[in-house]
C-alpha cells in the first residue's frame, strides 16, 4: 500500500483515501505545479502525499516553506506566472499568512490559486478552534468546503478552474474530521499542466501600493458581485425542495462540510429524507442568495447546521430580513447547537428530531457512575526534550529561583504536564522568544527568563524574536530543542536537517551559525547533546548565569526517528534495568523525570523499567542518585 499508488492508479479506480490524500490527488489532477506550506495538524498529509508523487510527476514543484506566510507567497508567485498553485496550512497558519492573503485577494489569481485551511473544531491538536470561513468574509474570497474525501478531490480540482475563471483566490476550508476521515474515492483524469507560462509585467496589478490597490479594491468588489450571482448555478450547491410536511410543518435545512454528512445520517435515521427540503452548500461563501430565497419560500421553519461560529446562520437571517421573511419563518441555528467543539453524530440526530418534533429515543445509553480520568498525551520514552526539561528543573532547584519559562508549539509543549511542569506560558508559534522580550522589560537580571522552542519553530517565527532581542537588548536565555525534525506533525524535514520535502538534499541551515549571524556573541552560544545530562546541567547553569541574549542549543535526534534508524541499520538499541537491591525507592526517576517506561511499585517501594517501552536513551542511568540503573548486557 505504497502512497505513491495514488499517483499511478488509473482514472475510474476506487481507492480508500484519507481526506488529505484525496485533497492531494485533487491538486495533482488539476495539473497544479506549485505546492508550498508548513506542516500542522490536521493539514500535514496533503503536501506529504503530493511529495510522494513527485517522482512520477516531475512537473510538481513542492516545498516545506519555513512558515505559512512564505508558503503562500511562493504560491502567489506561481499564480502570477500563470501556473496553478496551492498553499496548505492549518487554521492558525492562515493567521501567519494573513498579511499576504488579504492583499492577494485584491490582485486576485492568474494561474489558479487555492489556499487550504485545515480547521480543527474540538482542538484535537491546536491551541484554538478559530473558524477560518471568516477569512473568506474578511478578504472577500470564495470559500469551498467538502463533505467527503471524494468531494474533497473533485472540489479541489474544480477550485483551480473556478479560481482562473473568476481570477479569484479560493479558500479551501476543511475540518479535522474531513482531513482525517477516510472514504472511497473514484480517481479522475490527471490534467497536464500548462506548458507555457511566464510572468506578466502588469505592475498595476501586482504592485499593491495605494494608487493601484484602490483600483484593485473596486475590481475585487465587482468580482465578488459576479461570483455571488453565479454561485446560484454552481453544481457545488445542491437544493432539494420537498412539498411534504413533517408533523404539519414544511421544514428546511442548510448545512455544509462534515455537519452535512451528519444531517444526511440523521434524516435517514428519522426516516424523513423525502419529507424535508435541504440546501447543501459546497461554496459556503458567498452564499447562493437565490437558492436560499427559494428555500425560504418553500418552508415554515429552517434549521442551519454548522460547527463553530454562526456564519451561515447570520447571513441567511440577513437575507430573510431583506426579503421580508421575518415573522414568517422560524430560522434556528445556534439556539439549538453549541458554538464550541465538533458535533457528535447523535447530537445532530437529536437536534433534528427536536426541530421536527419527531419521536426519537435511543435505547438506554450505557453509562458508568465513575468519573473517568483523561488520558493526556505524554513525551515518548527516550524523548530528548524530557532530558532538557529535567536539567532545567534541576537547576531551578539548585539556584532556588523559579524561572519564567516561555514556550512554544511542538511536542515539547507536553512538558507542561506532571511531573515536569516546565512550561509557564505558550500562545503561538515563535511566541516563546516574543514573550521573553516583553518579560525582560519588567523583571530584573535576578529573574531567569527562558524561551524554550523547537528547531522547526525557531526557523518558523523564532528568528525575528531573536533579532528583536539582540537589537533591543532584551536579555534572555533561548533554549532551542533541536531534535532534527518537525516531530509532532509527522517528522517533516526543516532547514536544520537540510533535506527537502521530496527527501532530496537541500542546503542545511546551521542553527548556531544563524544565531551568531543574528548578533549573539560566540561566548553566549552553547551546543550540547540533550541526553548528556550531567554536562547539560553544568552548561545550562553557565548559560543562566551569563549576561545578555544567550542561546543554548540542546541537540539530540527525536527518539522515534532514532528507533527508525536503529531498525534500518539492524541495530538493537540497549535496554536498561533497575537493580532492585540498589533502588531505595526515592522515585526521582519516576516522579521527577517521568519516562513512561519507568514504573513504580508502591508495595515493594521499588522502580522498574518496562522493557517493551524502553528505547535505550540511557538518561535514567545518570539521574539515579543510587546508581541503581544499568544497561542490560544480555537482552
Amino acid at each position: 500500500m505504497e502512497r505513491s499508488h495514488y499517483a499511478l492508479d488509473k482514472p475510474g479506480k476506487s481507492v480508500i483515501m484519507l481526506g488529505n490524500e484525496a485533497v492531494a490527488r485533487g491538486i495533482l489532477e488539476a495539473g497544479t505545479i506549485i505546492g508550498a506550506g508548513y506542516p500542522g495538524t490536521p493539514s500535514s498529509e496533503i503536501l506529504k502525499t503530493l511529495a510522494s508523487m513527485e517522482n512520477y510527476f516531475p512537473h510538481l514543484k513542492l516545498e516545506w516553506s519555513i512558515n505559512e506566510k512564505v508558503g503562500l507567497e511562493v504560491a502567489i508567485a506561481g499564480s502570477m506566472s500563470d501556473v496553478r498553485s496551492v498553499a496548505c496550512m492549518k487554521h492558525v497558519g492562515v493567521n501567519v499568512a494573513a498579511d499576504a492573503f488579504m492583499t492577494i485577494a485584491y490582485a486576485g489569481a492568474r494561474g489558479g490559486l487555492v489556499v487550504v485551511s485545515a480547521d480543527d473544531p474540538n482542538l484535537y491538536s491546536s491551541q484554538n478552534e478559530q473558524d477560518n470561513r471568516f477569512y473568506g468574509l474578511h478578504g472577500l474570497v470564495p470559500v469551498f468546503e467538502p463533505s467527503t474525501p471524494q468531494e474533497a478531490k473533485d472540489m479541489m480540482k474544480y477550485a483551480f478552474e473556478f479560481s482562473e475563471k473568476y481570477e479569484t483566490v479560493v479558500l479551501f476550508r476543511t475540518t479535522t474530521r474531513l482531513n482525517h476521515g477516510r472514504g472511497n474515492v473514484v480517481l479522475g483524469e490527471i490534467q497536464k499542466p500548462k506548458t507555457e507560462h511566464g510572468f506578466d509585467w502588469d505592475r498595476e496589478r501586482w504592485v499593491c501600493l495605494p494608487s493601484h490597490s484602490r483600483v484593485l479594491r473596486k475590481n475585487l468588489l465587482e468580482r465578488m458581485d459576479i461570483i455571488s450571482q453565479d454561485v446560484n448555478q454552481s453544481h457545488l450547491n445542491g437544493l432539494n425542495l420537498s412539498e411534504q410536511t413533517v408533523n404539519g410543518k414544511k421544514i428546511g435545512f442548510i448545512s455544509a462540510g462534515i455537519p452535512y454528512s451528519h444531517l444526511k445520517d440523521a434524516l435517514s435515521y428519522l426516516e424523513i429524507e423525502d419529507k424535508v427540503s435541504t440546501l447543501k452548500l459546497g461554496i459556503v461563501y458567498p452564499l447562493p442568495r437565490k437558492l436560499i430565497i427559494k428555500l425560504l419560500k418553500n418552508v415554515d421553519k429552517l434549521l442551519v447546521i454548522e460547527e463553530l461560529e454562526p456564519i451561515i446562520e447570520t447571513l441567511v437571517k440577513k437575507i430573510a430580513f431583506e426579503e421580508g421573511f421575518v415573522g414568517e419563518i422560524e430560522i434556528v441555528g445556534k439556539d439549538l447547537f453549541p458554538q464550541n467543539f465538533e458535533f457528535p453524530a447523535e447530537l445532530v440526530i437529536e437536534k433534528v428530531a427536536k426541530f421536527t418534533n419527531k419521536e426519537f429515543e435511543l435505547s438506554e445509553i450505557p453509562h458508568t457512575e465513575l468519573k473517568l480520568p483523561p488520558r493526556l498525551p505524554v513525551l515518548c520514552p527516550g524523548c530528548s526534550h524530557r532530558a532538557t526539561f529535567y536539567a532545567i528543573n534541576k537547576l531551578e532547584k539548585k539556584l532556588k529561583k523559579q524561572f519564567i519559562n516561555s514556550s512554544d508549539i511542538g511536542c515539547y509543549t507536553l512538558g507542561v504536564y506532571k511531573p515536569l511542569e516546565a512550561i509557564d506560558a505558550q500562545i503561538c508559534m515563535g511566541g516563546s522568544i516574543g514573550m521573553a522580550n516583553g518579560f525582560s522589560k519588567l523583571y530584573g537580571d535576578d529573574q531567569p527568563l527562558l524561551a524554550i522552542l523547537g528547531d522547526s519553530t525557531f526557523f518558523h517565527t523564532g528568528v525575528p524574536g531573536l533579532v528583536n532581542a539582540v537589537y533591543n537588548q532584551n536579555n534572555m536565555l533561548i533554549v532551542i530543542l533541536d531534535n532534527r525534525s518537525t516531530s509532532m506533525t509527522g517528522f517533516q524535514d526543516n532547514p536544520g536537517t537540510g533535506v527537502k520535502i521530496t527527501k532530496k538534499p537541500g542546503t542545511r541551515v546551521i542553527i548556531e551559525d544563524l544565531v551568531k549571524g543574528c548578533g549573539v556573541p560566540e561566548e553566549n552560544i552553547w551546543l550540547e547533546d540533550s541526553n548528556d545530562i550531567d554536562k547539560m546541567v553544568e552548561k545550562l547553569e553557565d548559560a543562566i548565569n551569563a549576561e545578555g541574549v544567550r542561546v543554548f542549543i540542546s541537540r539530540h535526534i527525536c527518539s522515534l526517528l532514532e528507533m527508525g534508524e536503529f531498525k534500518a541499520r539492524n541495530i538493537t538499541p540497549p535496554t536498561y534495568k533497575i537493580d532492585k537491591e540498589a533502588c531505595i525507592g526515592c522515585q526521582i526517576c519516576y516522579n521527577q523525570f517521568g519516562c513512561p517506561a519507568i514504573n513504580f511499585n508502591e508495595k515493594l517501594r521499588k522502580a522498574s523499567i518496562d522493557q517493551s517501552l524502553c528505547r535505550g536513551c540511557g538518561v535514567c542511568e545518570f539521574i539515579c542518585p543510587q546508581g541503581a540503573i544499568h544497561e542490560e548486557t544480555q537482552k
Binding site: 500500500m1 480508500i16 453544481h235 452535512y260 459546497g282 453524530a345 465513575l370 488520558r375 498525551p377
Partner: protein
C-alpha cells in the same frame, strides 16, 4: 441503507489507525460491501493519548461523486452515532469504557484486559477520576452489550512474539471469527499480506486470534 459500524479504541501507539486501515481496505475489496467511510485520531494524541478509529461499511449503496454526477443520497457521516456500533475492538480497558455510549444490545466487544495506566493517574495529577477494575468494566459491558470476549491480548502477544505490538492483530483475528458473515478470513488475510512488507508474524498473530474462540 444497511450500515455495519466498527469502532477501534485504544492508546496512541497501539495500532488503532493500522486496524482501521486494514478493515477499510477489506471493505473496499469485499464484494459484499459497496462503500466504506471512517475516521481516525491523529496529531498530539498519538503520543500515548486516547485515540479511536471508526470504520463504517455501507452494505448496499452507490458511490457518491460530484464529478461523475452520482446522487448525494448515499453520503454518510464518518462518525458512528450513539448505540450504533456493531463491533468494538477495545485495545485498552479504560479506553473501551470511555466509548460506552456506542454500545447497545447489537454490539459485540472484543476486549483487551491489559491495563495501561495514564501517566496523569499514576502521578496523582489534580485531574479527577479513577481507573476502574476489569471486573467493574466487564460487568457494565455484559449489562449493555450483546456479547463480550475478554482476554489479555497484550500478554498473549508478548508470550508468542516477545513484543506487545501484535495485540491489535490478534484481536482482529478474534473479530473476524466472530463476524464471519461480513468479515471473510481469506480476504482479510490477503489484505494483511498486501499491507505489510513482511507479513509473516502478523499472519501468525491473526491466525492465533482466529483460533482462540
Amino acid at each position: 441503507m444497511d450500515i455495519f459500524n466498527i469502532l477501534i479504541a485504544g492508546i496512541g501507539g497501539q495500532g488503532t489507525i493500522l486496524l482501521g486501515n486494514i478493515l477499510r481496505e477489506y471493505g473496499l475489496r469485499s464484494p459484499l460491501i459497496k462503500n466504506v467511510v471512517g475516521t481516525e485520531t491523529r496529531g498530539v494524541s498519538q503520543r500515548e493519548g486516547s485515540v479511536s478509529s471508526t470504520v463504517r461499511y455501507l452494505i448496499d449503496s452507490k458511490i457518491y461523486s460530484l464529478e461523475q454526477g452520482y446522487e448525494i443520497e448515499d453520503l454518510v457521516s464518518p462518525l458512528i452515532p450513539t448505540n450504533d456500533a456493531h463491533l468494538i475492538i477495545g485495545l485498552e480497558p479504560l479506553e473501551t469504557l470511555r466509548n460506552l455510549k456506542f454500545i447497545s444490545e447489537k454490539t459485540e466487544i472484543i476486549y483487551n484486559t491489559h491495563k495501561r495506566f495514564p501517566r496523569n493517574v499514576l502521578l496523582n495529577s489534580e485531574l479527577e477520576g479513577e481507573y476502574p477494575s476489569n471486573a467493574y468494566i466487564l460487568d457494565i459491558l455484559d449489562q449493555f452489550a450483546r456479547r463480550t470476549i475478554s482476554m489479555d491480548f497484550t500478554e498473549l502477544s508478548i508470550q508468542y512474539f516477545e513484543s506487545s505490538i501484535y495485540a491489535n492483530i490478534i484481536s482482529l483475528g478474534v473479530s473476524v471469527k466472530e463476524f464471519q458473515n461480513i468479515l471473510h478470513k481469506k480476504l482479510i488475510l490477503k489484505v494483511i499480506k498486501d499491507y505489510f512488507p513482511d507479513s509473516t508474524k502478523n499472519t501468525e498473530a491473526f491466525e492465533l486470534g482466529f483460533d482462540l474462540v
